[in-house]
Symmetry: C2
Subunit: 454 residues, 2 copies
């Protein structure tokens, strides 16, 4: 997919579809002011920057609406181009008419993300910042919002730029020696050089390491509640949510299918999945299907709450649940000994939390444990969190290239040329993260996920 023409003037509705008090139609490009003048009156020959004017929208001699138009002169606009935001009545008919008038005046309907693409191409945002604009709009929790706004503001980018700057310095030192046919430059101080490369690698890895937590922050943390039948999983879900989402009864096997519910804990979005109990001896095809679905949910989990009933002795089903939870590969398994309000028949294992869905005992600690990794990411300094798989891949690639350096530089004949290759590859990965070298396919993919109008 080629990048759309940037010489055109583009137009789109910037606000969500549907009826409302107000809507915004946005024009951007070299002919934005001229197109606006064609449909807005009285015409402003040379509107002042960031001037808001109450104007009439006209279709020939017919009044369409009265609208407040704000004129932004490039490059001091979102896209970097001349931009007009027409704030009209939120009538789908009026919006459609204005879009048609703008097209008749020479503008072209914008494609998805095309305004932000132009902002990127005009150097208003780097690619990592531009991607975060989409994440900012979709942010559904305080934490997702915080990660997105930090990235829009350049939090991730500035960290990546700092790593790049270190690598550029290292590369320059290597290249000075490679070009030094007269032997004028002193030999490389290998130990210091390797140490600095290792530090840059650690920095890239540290940024990349936030990705698992960051993905949970952006998309919501997937927590699966599992355990033996009748261990009180659904009651625990209801207690965590604070309302009766799941049907509960004293009978084992009440929950047959997986069941989902969403909760915000300390600003982090958590997506709970309650599952059928993992019966070691399922008695019906229906129960086996429920267990199959529970196992599938476990494989997609970021965290697992493994529930045991503390008021009875252990069972084969408890052991099955422990085995399946461990095998699922979730980043963390939190063990909960439930029904702490009843007389205890077993003791909590190491790290196992005593909880009671009935009295609420231990639920605060359980909630805190669930988002501990996410909170840690925000506590660690810069707040910049990698939430994009593309960025994680680029940082991992850079770290991988830097990991090859020690072997290349070791021994009596350090291969400086090869080391320089690795440094260049690492730099290239980081440059692509920022969009400095991103090919058209990457840009097309990044911006096609945006909504039209952004």
């Amino acid at each position: 997919m080629p990048i759309p023409d940037t010489d055109d003037t583009i137009v789109a509705q910037a606000t969500p579809p549907g009826a409302g008090a107000l809507a915004i139609v946005r024009l951007s490009g070299p002919r934005a002011f001229a197109a606006a003048a064609a449909l807005l009156g009285p015409a402003a020959a040379a509107p002042r920057h960031r001037q808001a004017r109450l104007l009439a929208v006209r279709d020939g001699d017919r009044l369409v609406d009265r609208a407040v138009a704000v004129f932004h002169r490039g490059p001091a606009s979102y896209t970097g181009e001349d931009t007009v935001e027409i704030c009209c009545h939120g009538s789908p008919f009026v919006v459609r008419t204005i879009l048609n008038l703008a097209v008749r005046a020479g503008a072209r309907p914008a494609g998805p993300g095309e305004f932000t693409l132009r902002a990127f191409l005009n150097g208003k945002l780097d690619l990592a910042q531009a991607e975060a604009v989409g994440a900012l709009i979709e942010a559904g929790s305080a934490a997702a919002h915080r990660a997105a706004i930090t990235q829009v503001e350049g939090g991730v980018s500035s960290e990546v730029r700092a790593i790049k700057a270190d690598l550029v310095e290292l590369l320059a030192e290597l290249e000075a020696r490679l070009d030094d046919s007269y032997g004028e430059v002193p030999a490389l101080e290998l130990k210091g050089f390797s140490g600095r490369a290792a530090a840059a690698r650690a920095r890239a890895l540290r940024l990349a390491s936030g990705f698992e937590a960051g993905r949970g922050i952006k998309e919501g943390l997937r927590v699966v509640i599992t355990g033996a039948p009748n261990s009180g999983k659904s009651s625990l879900l209801n207690a965590l949510l604070g309302y009766d989402r799941a049907l509960v009864s004293g009978e084992a096997g009440t929950t047959r299918d997986t069941l989902e519910a969403e909760l915000e804990i300390d600003g982090f979005k958590v997506l709970f999945t309650d599952t059928a109990g993992l019966n070691a001896r399922p008695s019906s095809a229906l129960e086996r299907e429920g267990i199959r679905r529970a196992a599938a949910a476990l494989r997609r989990a970021d965290a697992v709450i493994l529930v045991r009933d503390g008021s009875i002795k252990g069972s084969p089903s408890d052991r099955r649940a422990l085995a399946e939870a461990g095998a699922a590969g979730a980043a963390r398994v939190i063990r909960a000994l439930n029904k702490a309000d009843l007389p205890a028949r077993r003791r909590p294992g190491p790290g196992e939390l005593k909880v009671s869905a009935r009295t609420g005992e231990g639920l605060g600690r359980l909630r805190a444990l669930l988002v501990a990794d996410q909170r840690k990411v925000f506590r660690d300094g810069s707040q910049a969190v990698v939430t994009s798989a593309r960025h994680f891949a680029a940082l991992s690639e850079a770290a991988g290239q830097l990991a090859a350096l020690p072997a290349v530089l070791r021994g009596p004949r350090p291969r400086a040329e090869l080391a320089a290759e690795h440094l260049r590859a690492a730099l290239s990965a980081l440059a692509s993260l920022l969009g400095e070298t991103a090919p058209e396919e990457v840009l097309a993919e990044v911006f096609s996920s945006f909504c039209v109008g952004k």
Copy 2:
């Protein structure tokens, strides 16, 4: 329902809900600038009128978003009060956060239509104009939009004001005589007086007479297609729509239930209902139910297309359809002799159109006939169309009061005091239309139908 407090500063999202590139949060009231300053930085102590500024939205020391805020100084704003429009990223989370920050800074969430209510209370719009703002947002066709924007611009109001001015003059002449205890004022020239009252009444009636067409313009014209079974009603519907909406077959009774489809003809919205054929001898309970539904649709129709099959002789079902179409009370019945492409077995009746769903013959004239009344409303001068039942009632009441004048003024002892009463009642009806004397209940009802944010 009392009118909400107007000393408060109110806040609401003005754009439709959901995610988009941009959204607008609007503040209005005496503390609008102060509340905006509390959440936007760097603070603008005294923002200039209609100035757009790129500012940071802050929650304490945390950045929420960067937004363009437009400051409107009252009374030169929509509401007549100080108003701030904050144009932020179209993220539901960001919008929610800004609303919360505004409330924390002293604003109150606005009720439905409260911005427009303030515009009305501050004299920026009269009540008829204010009501049309809602119609403008909801306008789904070019004609509905045209009627609404004309009313927002004061088209209806200025006509009502002109009638009022005439009545005020007449009332003054009457009152001068009533107050004239010394016999100084010459006697009323009764013929001229009555003529001017009749002219004012005719003007009110003419404005009111557009209501039926106006309601069709605003809500869409309800057109029911009826006729004997197998007369080609569904084929005619498909031909009018230009696509196969209805299932058709050569078999009588293919259409069993009513079926709706929407079409815009010359900018007017038309809502077609295809119905089961009116069989004079229905053969099943299912067919009888279909006919019952067809009859119910006919009773709600603004216009009826009565279809006959021109390729066969008349039947009892044709006569039943004619009788039911006539009895339904629709404003107009358009008769169509269908299947004009086949050899004719009967001639069109007076005013009956020859049409062919297959070849398209006569369909252009049929479409034009459907919206003829609506077009006439727009051709007649001012374009002001009454689309509101409240306005129709007020105009009818005024005309009714004026109709009583001739009897009161006739004969040897004209009852001037009673005539003045009728004039005052007519004036009061027109004043309530404009909102000059509308009680709180009327205002509450008018504005409660608005969306929040308008």
